[in-house]
């Protein structure tokens, strides 16, 4: 059995490996190469060295997008995880109709980002209309609109992960805590939180990377308006590549920097939360 597995291993792997090469490795390698080039179409590029990378840091919109994205990620990670954890705690308390609630909370995830963006744009504009404003009137409206949208979409998803984590905590620990006379706050702090650290690791990882890579919702909700002030990194890269003649290589360089940034931050975050995980 094992022998034949070994023998046919390449054949079974081949389709997936090919797909992985075509869909990931080749474009990735090309992308890195193109970030050192000037080009209009990707098959016809001239090598220019680090010129594109120098241009990136003189581009004010990139730096603006960078700190805006960082701010957005911090705000959305905190809000999404606190809310999701709170909802998950409620949903494991055995309230009547828990299953219905769980389904309802999870549902926003089933809608695509572009659709969500347009729906929320209508909702926000409908409300702001009463005050004689629109969502793209000022950058802070767009920013908080995006935060609300992301919370609405992501809380349900993170909640499911937290519920799974909470349910795996053995009941005898709670029993022991109760006998020892621990208050509810103490139980939460000393038992529930430390034991759900693995799910917190996953959820923060997901929300940090989601926050950094956010594109669809940003595009559909405000499209960077007004004056590109609500333009997050991914959208900024897209606009540089397609919106500016002669800046294709700069857009490519931006995306390489963006990739490195996301990797570094995700690794830092993983090691930070992992160290807090405890063995049962």
């Amino acid at each position: 059995m094992k022998k034949s597995l070994k023998k046919y291993f390449p054949i079974f792997m081949l389709p997936t490996f090919l797909a992985f090469c075509i869909g990931f490795i080749i474009p990735f390698g090309m992308g890195i190469y193109l970030s050192f080039c000037e080009f209009t179409t990707v098959t016809n590029a001239t090598f220019v060295g680090f010129k594109n990378y120098m241009k990136v840091f003189t581009d004010a919109t990139f730096l603006h997008s960078l700190w805006l994205t960082a701010l957005f990620t911090v705000v959305s990670v905190i809000l999404i995880n606190v809310l999701a954890y709170a909802v998950a705690l409620l949903m494991t308390k055995g309230i009547r109709g828990t299953n219905i609630f769980r389904t309802v909370f999870f549902m926003p995830n089933l809608i695509g980002g572009i659709v969500l963006g347009y729906i929320w744009q209508l909702i926000f504009n409908g409300i702001l209309q009463y005050f004689g404003r629109t969502l793209t009137y000022s950058a802070s409206y767009g920013f908080w609109g995006l935060v609300i949208l992301m919370c609405w979409q992501q809380v349900g998803y993170m909640m499911i992960i937290y519920i799974a984590g909470l349910q795996s905590i053995p009941g005898d620990l709670y029993e022991a805590a109760e006998i020892d006379g621990a208050s509810r706050w103490q139980t939460l702090k000393k038992i529930t939180l430390p034991l759900s650290m693995p799910s917190i690791t996953i959820c923060t990882f997901l929300s940090v990377t989601n926050g950094f890579k956010l594109f669809d919702q940003n595009l559909a909700l405000t499209n960077g308006q007004p004056s590109d002030k609500t333009e997050l990194l991914a959208l900024n890269i897209y606009n540089t590549f397609y919106g500016r003649t002669g800046w294709e290589g700069v857009g490519q360089a931006k995306s390489v920097i963006f990739f490195l940034l996301v990797v570094v931050i995700a690794l830092l975050q993983l090691s930070a939360t992992r160290s807090k995980e405890v063995q049962q």
């Binding site: 209009t40 004689g132 007004p226 004056s227 397609y242």
Partner: protein, 444 residues
């Protein structure tokens, strides 16, 4: 059971793979004419036209099929979804079967594609062109040929204007335009309108009407005054006039300036069509959309020049020009290039081609053969012709020399902030003058 499962999985994978293959063209509507023609393709070459104008997508496909029927040369027409032409063209041109015929929007668009453009100087279609004004040149090479001439101005509702006690003849300058608009705005309840001008929406579906088309006027007058056709450093001599007309658009409007950022092109169109606004800045291409609704007849609409209060504007006509230039891909095979040139020539010389361009697509074409019956029945074009017949000078489309999309965007953003009160006019000046110099030098 296991066997069934394996087959099912294989099928799913196959479907997935073909779906991936198809997805790349999902943003464009492709149409390949009858496959019977492909047998002759090798000998005669083929045409792949990547069309910019979504309004005429179906008509081009039909014309391509007709050409295939007549000559056996396969013609593929693909049309970009609105606003995605440049991005899709970038990926289309990288393919093995790249478009043989594509479009650029003027000198600035040509700058990024000139390495791909075939020199059309010796082509038949270039010989058909009425004047060299309609050709895009780089040195002595002819790289682009305009195939449609368009005109824009302030479209107005004759019925409502007469109801307010005016006719188009009363409006001959910025001052009279402002007087009429202010009066209509003041009596809007009595006249049953929401405002004099349709909303000057700054959503991306509508902002080009102001950051590009309206901004053309101060640039045109500055070029006229200095006797030039392009510049590396604009002075902004006529920016005060730009401010005046923009103030007029946003004050005598159907909506509060604070709502402009989300108003779309469709909003403005519907306000005009439903008779909620008297004036609507747009061009001849908007006729199809206005007529589609049917609530305004051809007799009820006309077009006025955009007066901004510049000297000598009593002789100003409408803004006429082109931002649709045909370019032939020089990297295509020799047969394909020849097939494409033949197709272009056929479009502008044969009866079927001329009829399709003028009647079905409603184009005014700058080629020799388009006279008499080959002129479209569009009241807005008739209005444009009337101004020329009256001896008015058409305003050229100087916006094709605007340095970049980025320049337009920053001017648009500054205009919006000024209108809604979160920025001041100095920001528009900075974006206009300093931005011009910065973008022009960046493009070099």
């Amino acid at each position: 059971m296991k066997k069934f499962l394996a087959i099912a999985l294989a099928a799913v994978m196959a479907v997935g793979m073909t779906a991936c293959g198809g997805a790349s063209s999902s943003s464009a509507a492709a149409s390949t004419p009858a496959s019977t023609a492909s047998s002759t393709a090798a000998a005669k070459g083929s045409v792949y036209y990547y069309n910019f104008k979504p309004e005429q997508a179906d008509q081009w496909v039909a014309l391509g099929e007709e050409y295939t029927k007549e000559t056996g040369v396969p013609v593929t027409v693909v049309t970009a979804a609105s606003g995605t032409y440049e991005s899709t063209l970038k990926s289309e041109m990288a393919k093995t079967d790249a478009p043989t015929l594509f479009q650029v929007n003027g000198p600035v668009g040509l700058a990024s594609w000139k390495d791909y453009c075939y020199d059309l100087s010796a082509s038949d279609v270039y010989g058909q062109l009425k004047s060299d004004d309609f050709a895009l040149k780089d040195g002595d090479k002819t790289l682009g040929i305009a195939y449609v001439i368009e005109t824009y101005g302030i479209i107005y509702n004759k019925t409502l204007l007469e109801k307010a006690g005016y006719t188009a003849a009363d409006i001959t300058s910025f001052d009279t335009l402002k007087k009429v608009a202010d009066d209509i705005q003041a009596r809007k309840d009595e006249l049953g309108v929401q405002g004099a001008f349709a909303s000057a929406g700054m959503d991306s579906s509508s902002d080009w009407r102001f950051k590009t088309h309206l901004a053309n006027l101060p640039i045109y007058y500055e070029y006229q005054a200095d006797g030039i056709g392009d510049t590396d450093a604009i002075k902004g001599t006529y920016l005060d006039n730009y401010k005046a007309i923009w103030d007029l658009y946003t004050t005598d409007s159907t909506c509060e300036p604070t709502l402009l950022s989300s108003k779309t092109g469709d909003d403005a169109l519907s306000e005009f069509v439903l008779g909620e606004a008297v004036f609507y800045q747009n061009g001849t291409w908007a006729y199809a959309d206005i007529a589609k609704d049917g609530s305004l007849t051809d007799d009820e609409i006309g077009m006025l020049p955009i007066y901004i209060g510049a000297k000598g504007e009593e002789n100003q006509g409408l803004c006429t020009g082109s931002e649709n230039y045909w370019c032939v891909n020089k990297n295509a095979s020799a047969e394909d290039i020849q097939a494409t040139l033949d197709f272009m020539n056929w479009c502008v010389t044969s009866d079927a081609g001329k009829k399709a361009l003028c009647t079905d697509m409603g184009f005014v074409c700058p080629f020799e053969g388009f006279t008499g019956e080959y002129l479209p029945s569009n009241p807005l074009i008739a209005a444009a012709d009337q101004y020329i017949a009256d001896g008015k000078t058409s305003v050229a489309w100087c916006f094709t020399t605007m340095p970049s999309e980025d320049w337009k965007n920053s001017v648009g953003a500054a205009l919006l902030e000024y209108a809604q009160g979160t920025g001041d006019w100095d920001a528009v000046k900075t974006a206009f003058v300093d931005g011009w110099a910065a973008e022009k030098s960046a493009a070099k």
